[in-house]
């Protein structure tokens, strides 16, 4: 619960900043996908269930704040949360390589989905153009930021996950005592 609230709060602040002052970090008009970093780190630590829930909430925030229909980004980030959580079930997070490659893969997948639904279905078929001007630059920028931020975010998620676990255990204990 604490983990979910904290991730949503960070996502909210990141979105607001990215729409105003943090736009200054854009390189050549390309912004990194910070919500994706949040989703990947949460899903890697907490598994596919909590990961998809946190992805859903983060995506819904973006939809609510800036997108014209609800559910689009919620769907994308939820699926990312689920697949990253599912794939990293039995994998160690101590190496940075793993979260970074998950970030690259999911950022690329998200770029493809956005191209298909926001451009291709509207009749804009210049895939190569968007691949080299939007999708790949975004992947690379997100990756570079991910190398810096992912260890931090994973530490944070491990901590809040631990707190949540302790709270849940306490609740279970008290229930057992009562029964």
């Amino acid at each position: 619960m604490i983990s979910l609230v904290l991730n949503a709060l960070i996502g909210f602040i990141v979105l607001i900043l990215q729409s105003s002052s943090l736009r200054g970090i854009a390189i050549g008009g390309i912004l990194p996908d910070l919500l994706l970093l949040l989703t990947v780190s949460a899903a890697m630590v907490q598994g596919e269930r909590r990961g998809s829930l946190i992805g859903f909430v983060l995506g819904l925030l973006e939809d609510l704040l800036f997108f014209r229909v609800l559910g689009f980004y919620a769907l994308i980030y939820m699926l990312i949360g689920f697949s990253v959580g599912y794939l990293s079930r039995n994998l160690s997070r101590s190496l940075l390589l793993l979260p970074v490659s998950f970030t690259a893969a999911s950022s690329f997948a998200a770029g493809l989905v956005q191209f298909i639904f926001l451009r291709f279905l509207k009749g804009d078929t210049r895939f190569a153009y968007y691949l080299f001007h939007l999708i790949l630059p975004e992947v690379i920028y997100t990756l570079l930021l991910g190398v810096l931020l992912l260890p931090l975010l994973i530490k944070l998620n491990e901590f809040t996950d631990h707190v949540d676990e302790v709270n849940a255990q306490k609740r279970r204990m008290s229930r057992r005592i009562r029964s």
Binding site: F12, S19, S20, F66, V69, A74
Partner: protein, 303 residues
């Protein structure tokens, strides 16, 4: 006791299996409700914006403050000198102004004579601040800090002191979203700003793509016309014409910077640099008067 726990866990696992399909269903349902049925669930968005708008505004003013102080700190001395020089200039200009005012009064009389007083300085206007740009690479929106609570309606023209910036395309309670004139969907009826200037159709060119022009990455507009049919040259100013449905006549759209023949040369495209740079402005004016709109059968209004 142990068995009970195991049973409970099994039930919980069973429930957890349904979580992803449930989430998918919720997303698809939301997409259908908001996208296809047109129910916009504005109360949810507005609740969030109640929190986010003040933060965005605060961030903006902090930014402006820091910027101002950075600029001002080191250059205090030169500013003082400049001030003295400017005072002298002001006096000279005041003198000139008086002469010009007399001139202006004469011009006003002439204007009345030719019934040319339909210009936009008479329209009721209200100021608004740009508080947000899109946070993503895939879509473009500008958010203003005024909404239906301030009397803003859809299709109201948005201008700055430089000229036309766009029109309000979505209105919520406390904020509104603007479509810029460089947006690819934007179409404006314009006129070359000369006595008897030709009428033209100005389209948004941001993201436009063709063999001759390549990819247009900058905030530009364009006019497509049959070569020789329209009397247009580089340097011409384009203003809104009185033919349009939503923009009042006489607003500056931009300056022609380039004329490029297309294909066999039968057609040409004039590239127009807009008078307004939205990325560099944070205050805009909204003309709070919607012109007579022609609605089509879907109830949508075509600008």
């Amino acid at each position: 006791m142990k068995r009970e726990d195991a049973e409970k866990r099994a039930i919980r696992e069973e429930r957890a299996k349904w979580r992803l399909p449930l989430g998918l269903a919720v997303c698809v349902l939301l997409l259908i409700i908001t996208g296809m049925l047109g129910l916009r669930l504005d109360f949810l968005r507005e609740a969030l914006h109640l929190v986010s708008d003040p933060i965005e505004q605060g961030m903006k003013s902090v930014q402006v403050w820091i910027h101002d102080h950075n600029e001002g700190w080191g250059t205090m001395q030169s500013v003082m000198e400049e001030n003295a020089r400017l005072r002298e200039q002001v006096e000279a200009l005041e003198e000139e102004n008086r002469a010009l005012l007399a001139e202006a009064r004469r011009a006003e009389e002439l204007e009345e004579l030719y019934a040319l007083d339909t210009y936009y300085r008479d329209y009721p206007k209200t100021g608004a601040q740009i508080i947000g740009l899109s946070p993503n690479n895939w879509y473009d929106t500008f958010i203003l800090d005024k909404g239906s609570a301030d009397g803003i309606e859809i299709y109201m023209p948005v201008i700055t002191t430089g000229g036309l910036a766009g029109h309000v395309s979505e209105v919520f309670g406390q904020y509104a979203i603007v479509t810029s004139i460089v947006d690819q969907g934007s179409v404006i009826y314009g006129q070359i700003n000369r006595p008897g200037g030709d009428l033209v159709v100005v389209e948004g060119a941001f993201g436009y793509h063709s063999n001759e022009l390549g990819e247009i990455d900058d905030s530009l507009c364009m006019i497509k016309f049959v070569t020789g049919e329209v009397d247009i040259t580089v340097g011409d100013e384009i203003v809104t014409s009185s033919l349009g449905d939503i923009y009042p006549p006489g607003l500056s759209i931009g300056i022609v910077t380039e004329i490029i023949p297309v294909g066999t040369g039968y057609e040409s495209v004039a590239i127009i640099k807009p008078s307004v740079d939205l990325e560099q402005t944070d205050m805009v004016l909204i003309i709070t008067e919607v012109r007579n709109l022609s609605e089509n059968e879907n109830g949508e209004v075509q600008p």
